[in-house]
């Protein structure tokens, strides 16, 4: 045993070095690290063990705490993100404050990144020494209890958001459902049939929409957008802008006479995907929830010229429901949790010019076709060419438009194979003698009943051609191609270039993240990936939580998803929230900053550092103070304080300086011996 220095506050540290089976011990000489650790200052006991996280491993720690009177514990094993909680709990069971524990990552950061045993062992020692030196300076901390406001905000009224809202409302909790369009329903409301069962989308969705509207526990805020989010898990304060509808929701009965009488039409780019028109005062679709119409101010003739007011003239309600002087309302909502279900955008097929969308009339996007086959859509469900008359005799369906493509999105958009098959089926059904060509790279149909649906289409006589479409053109080379759209493709199954003339082309465009998803992620202070999809806490084990406590995600805003998956996520997020609400309070990490009021010079530098406005300045005493409940513990103010009087609990200067010295123990030894 070496002489123990640092005697001014003598602590008894237990060091535990994990083999992790052979994950660590294959590269790091764990026995040597443990033996060496036993010689380090303040170390009372050092052991190595096959699996520290096993119950036997944990008992080892608990026993030593009790029998050897350990006051500090260091465990050198995996990432703290993996097992810090496990070991903290073990310490707590043995009566040691869990924050007197420190974890050393010698697996992810060491044994898994190198095959060099000598270097890995040396690195492990340095990291362990850093932890030993750090843990000496740890202080016992208590977790902070936070009360959970039982109200929840759900952002996005598509099927995922609707599911979340209904689950929570049915559980007895109040929900604010915010939707930026005039009606809830989302993309699902635009669909005709849903694969693979071919249920009518509206038939299964609209009852749920009505439930939302009628539920006592749901406050529905459509035509509204979240503008600001303050606070933290349990206590968010959200600012919502309720845009002016110019229709009084109290008086309006939703009779629709105003819509009928409005003399002006606009192309509906949102709900009808540009395929149909709507009036200037409109509801997106007949079953819209809520039923109140909205005036499209930009195109309303009254707003532009001061004349018309047809809607007001014919409104039968008393008092009149049309209110041209209505203004946006700013609402302040307090909630405990937020579920984001903001959905997706469809890839803009114009970005691939060789597919001709926008230039060649009879190239349609998936959503356009979806509206076309919808019985309530602009063509009453008839499949027709752009002239709205002729029936196509041959149809080409192109998969992977914008997805699985280095130039656009690398990811697989997941739902396109299935919806392409659905389209093929619908064409077969409506135009029995039509020839259908389906161009795919790989047919991806995992899911209950999905592969069976594919087999059904094979039997229905769709021509499946394996190959990525190179071009859609109207430049005919032979008489048979005249007046047709020609799909140029390499058929990889026969190894030949083919040109297939068709009347209509449907592009199965990819799902992509909403255009403003980066801004939304910043608004809610959570992350999104490079594609713009929101980042889950764990891709497998925690798909609906985010890195920010109290913010959950559901549906296609997290990645391409079909209806059943979106519903599952919506319900999962709701269950997570319901669990938190029923607990009432949660314990938060005590990693918080505090200012020594006696020593603060009142320079106010920290005031501007805090991104959460958690630092207030007392004008009377000329000192700053951290509001613990608002502080998130980043430590930016700690690093900025010129007087060094802000303490960041569990990340104090003392602790970090000690750790720096510790991880460089060999360097200073080298220097001393030099």
């Amino acid at each position: 045993m070496t002489e123990k220095s640092n005697s001014e506050n003598k602590e008894r540290v237990g060091v535990y070095v994990c083999h992790c089976g052979t994950n660590i011990s294959k590269v790091v000489d764990v026995e040597e690290v443990a033996r060496w650790a036993g010689e380090q200052p303040n170390v009372e006991v050092a052991r190595d063990y096959k699996f520290m996280c096993s119950s036997l491993g944990q008992e080892l720690i608990e026993q030593d705490i009790k029998e050897k009177g350990l006051t500090r514990v260091v465990c050198a094993s995996c990432s703290p993100h993996m097992h810090e909680k496990t070991f903290r709990t073990a310490c707590e069971r043995a009566g040691l404050n869990p924050f007197l524990f420190e974890m050393t990552n010698i697996r992810e950061h060491d044994s898994w990144i190198t095959d060099d045993k000598v270097a890995a062992t040396a690195k492990a020692k340095s990291l362990v020494r850093g932890s030993i030196d750090r843990v000496i300076h740890h202080e016992p901390l208590e977790q902070i209890p936070v009360e959970i406001n039982p109200n929840t905000l759900v952002v996005g009224g598509g099927i995922a958001g609707i599911t979340s809202a209904l689950e929570l409302a049915d559980a007895g909790y109040h929900v604010y459902l915010v939707e930026r369009e005039p009606s809830i329903g989302g993309h699902m409301a635009q669909l005709d049939k849903t694969f693979p069962t071919l249920d009518c989308s509206a038939c299964i969705l609209t009852p749920k929409m009505v439930d939302v509207a009628q539920h006592d526990n749901i406050t529905l805020l459509t035509w509204s957008e979240v503008e600001k989010v303050d606070g933290y898990l349990g206590n968010f304060s959200v600012t919502v802008r309720k845009k002016a509808r110019y229709v009084n929701e109290e008086h309006c009965t939703g009779c629709g006479i105003c819509i009928e009488k409005c003399p002006f039409k606009e192309v509906d780019e949102v709900f009808e995907a540009g395929m149909g028109t709507r009036k200037v005062i409109y509801r997106p679709f007949p079953q819209a929830v809520p039923k109140y119409p909205v005036i499209d101010k930009e195109n309303c003739v009254y707003f532009k010229t001061g004349k018309c007011k047809a809607c007001e003239k014919f409104c039968p309600t008393e008092p009149n429901s049309i209110e041209f002087d209505q203004e946006d309302e700013i609402l302040q909502i307090d909630v405990g949790n937020i579920i984001l279900a903001t959905g997706y955008d469809l890839f803009d097929s114009k970005r691939i010019p060789q597919y001709g969308y926008g230039k060649l009339d009879n190239v349609f996007t998936g959503l356009e076709f979806e509206r076309m086959v919808n019985a309530a859509g602009p063509t009453d469900g008839k499949i027709v060419l752009r002239d709205k008359e002729s029936t196509p005799k041959s149809v080409g369906i192109v998969h992977c438009v914008g997805s699985r493509d280095e130039n656009y999105h690398k990811y697989c958009s997941k739902v396109c194979c299935m919806y392409s098959l659905k389209f093929a089926h619908l064409v077969h059904e409506r135009i029995p003698d039509a020839e259908i060509y389906d161009f795919y790279i790989d047919m991806r149909t995992p899911g209950k009943g999905y592969e069976e649906f594919y087999n059904r289409l094979l039997e229905e006589g769709t021509h499946f051609i394996r190959g990525k479409v190179a071009e859609v053109t109207d430049a005919a080379r032979i008489p048979e191609e005249e007046g047709k759209l020609i799909i140029q493709v390499e058929d990889t199954l026969i190894g030949k270039q083919r040109r297939i003339p068709v009347d209509m082309v449907i592009l199965s465009s990819a799902m992509e993240a909403r255009a403003g998803s980066k801004e939304v992620s910043q608004l809610f202070k959570m992350g999104c990936d490079f594609d713009g999809f929101f980042t889950e806490r764990h891709p497998k084990l925690d798909p609906v939580a985010t890195m920010t406590d109290g913010i959950l995600i559901a549906g296609a805003c997290q990645g391409p998803k079909d209806v059943p998956e979106s519903v599952s996520q919506g319900a999962a997020a709701a269950a997570r929230v319901a669990g938190l609400i029923s607990r009432g309070t949660v314990m938060m990490e005590p990693v918080r900053a505090s200012i020594d009021q006696e020593a603060c010079s009142g320079c106010k530098i920290c005031n501007n550092m805090c991104p959460f406005n958690a630092i207030i300045f007392h004008e009377d005493r000329k000192v700053s103070e951290v509001i613990t409940a608002l502080c998130q513990g980043c430590g930016t103010c700690v690093a900025a304080c010129p007087s060094g009087v802000i303490t960041g609990a569990h990340f104090t200067n003392d602790q970090l300086f000690a750790q720096i010295e510790g991880v460089l123990w060999d360097m200073s030894a080298e220097k001393a011996s030099a």
């Binding site: 990432s79 703290p80 993100h81 990552n105 697996r107 992810e108 950061h109 060491d110 898994w112 990144i113 190198t114 095959d115 060099d116 270097a119 890995a120 690195k123 340095s126 990291l127 850093g130 980066k518 992620s521 910043q522 202070k525 992350g527 999104c528 990936d529 490079f530 980042t535 890195m547 920010t548 990693v591 550092m609 991104p611 959460f612 998130q632 513990g633 980043c634 430590g635 930016t636 700690v638 690093a639 900025a640 960041g648 990340f651 200067n653 970090l656 300086f657 750790q659 720096i660 010295e661 991880v663 460089l664 360097m667 200073s668 080298e670 220097k671």
Partner: protein
């Protein structure tokens, strides 16, 4: 110094992005130089310039500060504050004779294990080429500049 010089880097990794990037690099079994000794901080904004000075003085050949990409900070903009400090600090260190390559600020999101590994490899290579820092010789006892001598006591205190 022995002839097989291996530079030592102290890495200050933020809890949310870069530390997880390093975790991911390990989980994905990406092999890279084991020369960085990581210290976890909640946010790159927590990295006090004194930490960097301390590490260099204690014998590190280089310091890497790693945070979330701008706009992706878990704490909104702590990384931007880290960046502001970083450029000032590096300028000061350069004036003291510490080569620019020795102090680096990188962004690595939790999904960028490969990127983090590459940056560590690159930095290790760069430091190998530079050789040991020798803080005392270079900075504290520097004979050709009175400025260094003046700041030396301050540095000693850090």
């Amino acid at each position: 110094m022995s002839e097989t010089y291996e530079p030592v880097i102290v890495g200050f990794l933020c809890n949310w992005c870069s530390y997880r990037a390093a975790d991911l690099a390990g989980t994905a079994r990406i092999k890279y130089a084991p020369n960085m000794r990581a210290i976890r901080v909640m946010c790159s904004g927590r990295v006090d310039p004194q930490f960097v000075m301390k590490a260099l003085r204690e014998g590190a050949d280089g310091v890497m500060i790693a945070g979330c990409h701008p706009g992706e900070c878990h704490y909104v903009n702590g990384n931007i504050k880290a960046m502001r400090r970083f450029y000032l600090l590096r300028k000061m260190l350069t004036q003291l004779g510490v080569e620019e390559e020795r102090v680096q600020l990188i962004w690595a999101s939790a999904s960028e294990g490969i990127l983090l590994a590459e940056k560590v490899d690159q930095m290790t290579e760069a430091l190998r080429a530079l050789g040991p820092l020798n803080w005392d010789e270079k900075v504290v006892n520097r004979s050709n500049g009175y400025k260094a001598a003046e700041v030396a006591p301050v540095l000693e205190e850090a």
